[in-house]
Every structure is written in structure tokens, then in C-alpha cells.
């Protein structure tokens, strides 16, 4: 194993910071639309900034703001954040398989704290053992734009005409599409699962029992049912490391 010197670390951090810039730009735009949901939920700019800085989760935050708007219980909030961010468990597991076993607990905590779809994807795309400094570099240029974008979304949601706000609010779904389509293209089972999810999600809004529970709970119930069925019917051979 090669020895990692301090200057190597600085170099790798700089690489990560550079690679994080396009991620940060994308985050800013998407977070702006998230800020519009935050405002609708009654959050002020500081609260929206903190929520994004500390949660760093598009889908999770979107679901969370929906819950805040509905005045849901804190327990329901915990459950929904858990279920919408469940994928980070998998990513964290995948990362754990790619670390030098000697990696300190401090670095494990540090790397884990910044797991997002993009930071995970970029981190894991490097060969060999993962270097904590690279992940920190990625986070250094992407997490702050995410938090600032949400804050500006709350502030400027007022200023912009409603047609622009509506258009921007759709960008979050565009981001979700960009995450689910590539694996659907690669794996027919994922494609099938996604289509079934679309169908059941649409149907559940019409069914008498399911349509009466809150949106967050419905997402949670559907996710558990569909993902369990997919896991039972089409167990994966090897969980892929790459996203």
C-alpha cells in the first residue's frame, strides 16, 4: 500500500474541490426550487439554509417540507427521512467495502456525513481505496451551494413571477429522473420496477384507503412494498459499487 503524504492529500482535496464545482452548480439550481417548497412549508431563509446544510438530501428534504407543511408528527418526520434516505444506507455500505480497513472512525464519520447521490458517485468512481480527502474536496464546493440555493429559493420565491416558480419547482423532478433513468437503461428489472412504481403511485392516489394517508406515509408504504417485492422476485447477484 502506498503511503499518503500530506501534500498528496492536499492535491487530492484540490482535485475533489474542482470536480465538485459542476455538482455545486447543479445543486444550486435544484436547491432553489427546493427552497420554494421550503417557503410553502413556512420555513424562513435561515431555517431553510440550516435544513439543507445539515440534511443534504433532495428527495428527503422535499418529502420533509411536505410533512412540515402538513404539520406532521416528529416521529413521522423521522420515519419519512429514514425511508427517503434509505439509499444512503446502501451507499454507506458500499463505501465501507472500499475503504482501507485501517481508516479511522473519524474519517468514516466524515466521509459518511457527506454522502449524496453525486458525492457518492464521484467518490466511488475512483480506483482503489477511497481517499477521504477527495470526498471532502467534493463536499467543499458542492454542499454550500446546496444550502445557499435553498435559502435563495425561500427569499426569491416571492420576487419571481408564478410561471417561473412553477417551472423551477419541476426541476427537482427532473433531477429525480436523471437519477433513476441511467440504471433503468442498464437493468431491465430496475426499469420494470420504476414503471410499476409510477403505476402504483398514480393508483394509490385514487384508492380510498391509501389516498387518505399523508403523502410522505404513502411514499414510505409504497417503497417498502414495491422494493420488497422486487427483492423477493429479482434478488440481485452482486450489489454494484458504481452508481
Amino acid at each position: 500500500m502506498q503511503e499518503i503524504t500530506r501534500s498528496d492529500n492536499r492535491h487530492v482535496f484540490a482535485q475533489g474541490a474542482r470536480d465538485g464545482i459542476p455538482i455545486g452548480l447543479g445543486y444550486f439550481a435544484v436547491a432553489f426550487s427546493l427552497g420554494i417548497s421550503a417557503k410553502a412549508a413556512g420555513l424562513d431563509p435561515l431555517q431553510a439554509f440550516l435544513a439543507s446544510l445539515l440534511t443534504i438530501a433532495s428527495a428527503g428534504e422535499y418529502a420533509a417540507f411536505t410533512l412540515i407543511a402538513a404539520g406532521a408528527s416528529y416521529l413521522e418526520m423521522a420515519a419519512v427521512i429514514f425511508i427517503t434516505n434509505c439509499r444512503y444506507i446502501l451507499m454507506s455500505c458500499a463505501m465501507s467495502q472500499r475503504l482501507d480497513p485501517a481508516t479511522s472512525t473519524g474519517h468514516r464519520v466524515g466521509m459518511g456525513a457527506f454522502i449524496t447521490d453525486e458525492i457518492f458517485g464521484a467518490s466511488i468512481s475512483r480506483e482503489g481505496y477511497l481517499v477521504p480527502a477527495y470526498t471532502y474536496g467534493l463536499a467543499s464546493t458542492s454542499v454550500l451551494p446546496w444550502a445557499l440555493g435553498t435559502m435563495f429559493g425561500v427569499i426569491a420565491g416571492n420576487i419571481l413571477p408564478s410561471s417561473v416558480v412553477t417551472a423551477l419547482s419541476v426541476s427537482i423532478f427532473g433531477m429525480f429522473i436523471a437519477i433513476i433513468v441511467p440504471p433503468s437503461k442498464k437493468d431491465p428489472v430496475v426499469l420494470f420496477t420504476v414503471l410499476i412504481s409510477f403505476l402504483l403511485s398514480w393508483l394509490s392516489g385514487k384508492l380510498p384507503l391509501l389516498s387518505s394517508v399523508s403523502e410522505g406515509t404513502r411514499i414510505m408504504i409504497l417503497t417498502v412494498i414495491i422494493a420488497s417485492a422486487a427483492a423477493a422476485l429479482f434478488p440481485v447477484k452482486e450489489v454494484a459499487d458504481e452508481e
Binding site: S33, D44, Q47, A51, L54, T55, I56, A57, G60, E61, Y62, A64, L67, I68, G71, M77, I81, F82, T84, N85, Y88, I89, L90, S92, C93, T105, R108, V109, G112, A113, F114, T166, A167, S169, V170, S171, F173, G174, M175, I177, A178, I180, V181, P182, P183, K185, V190, T193, S197, F198, S201, W202, G205, L222, T223, S228, A231, P235, V236, A240
Partner: protein, 100 residues
């Protein structure tokens, strides 16, 4: 009236634990094939459920949301990243809502 700061603390706390616990606790591969498979499918199911039909109800006209969905899927299928797909969906909704 619930406190927004408590909501934020719950959001932050649960997300932090989810991200950090496996990385610090699990040092071997997960054995259960079902659990691994379940975790593999979860992100796609959650995101798909959140996207549809919400994208259609989020726009002023259902048609613009539907077109944005299809346009986004096509661009992502052709290799478009997060940022281009998000922008395309927004622009599509803006233009079609303006025309209708």
C-alpha cells in the same frame, strides 16, 4: 403549532445516522441477499413514486408536466446529467404553460 427547528434537528439527526452508521459499524459485506436486494431497489422506487404523478400536478397544466416528464426521460436516457435534465424539465414546463 410544531417547532421548525425541532423538525430540522430530526431531519439532520436521522440523515446523519443513516449515512454514518453503516460506514462505521459494518466492516464486512452484508450477508442477507434479500436485504441487499431490498436496499438496491429502494432508491429507484422512492424516487419514481415521488416523481409520478407529482410532476404532472406541479405544473399549471397537466400536459406541460407530462411533456416535461417524457422530455426528461429522453434526455437522461441519452446520457444527460442531473443539471441538464433538471433545466430541460423546467424550460419545457415554462414554455408549454406560456403557450396554453
Amino acid at each position: 403549532m410544531k417547532n421548525n427547528y425541532i423538525y430540522i434537528a430530526v431531519m439532520a439527526g436521522v440523515s446523519f445516522l443513516i449515512r454514518v452508521l453503516p460506514l462505521t459499524v459494518i466492516r464486512k459485506q452484508i450477508k442477507s441477499r434479500f436485504l441487499r436486494s431490498f436496499l438496491f431497489y429502494v432508491p429507484y422506487v422512492t424516487l419514481a413514486v415521488m416523481t409520478f404523478p407529482a410532476i404532472i400536478t406541479a405544473s399549471a397544466h397537466p400536459v406541460s408536466g407530462a411533456v416535461a416528464l417524457v422530455a426528461g426521460i429522453i434526455l437522461a436516457w441519452l446520457g444527460g446529467g442531473l443539471f441538464p435534465v433538471a433545466i430541460l424539465c423546467s424550460v419545457t414546463v415554462f414554455v408549454i404553460d406560456a403557450l396554453l
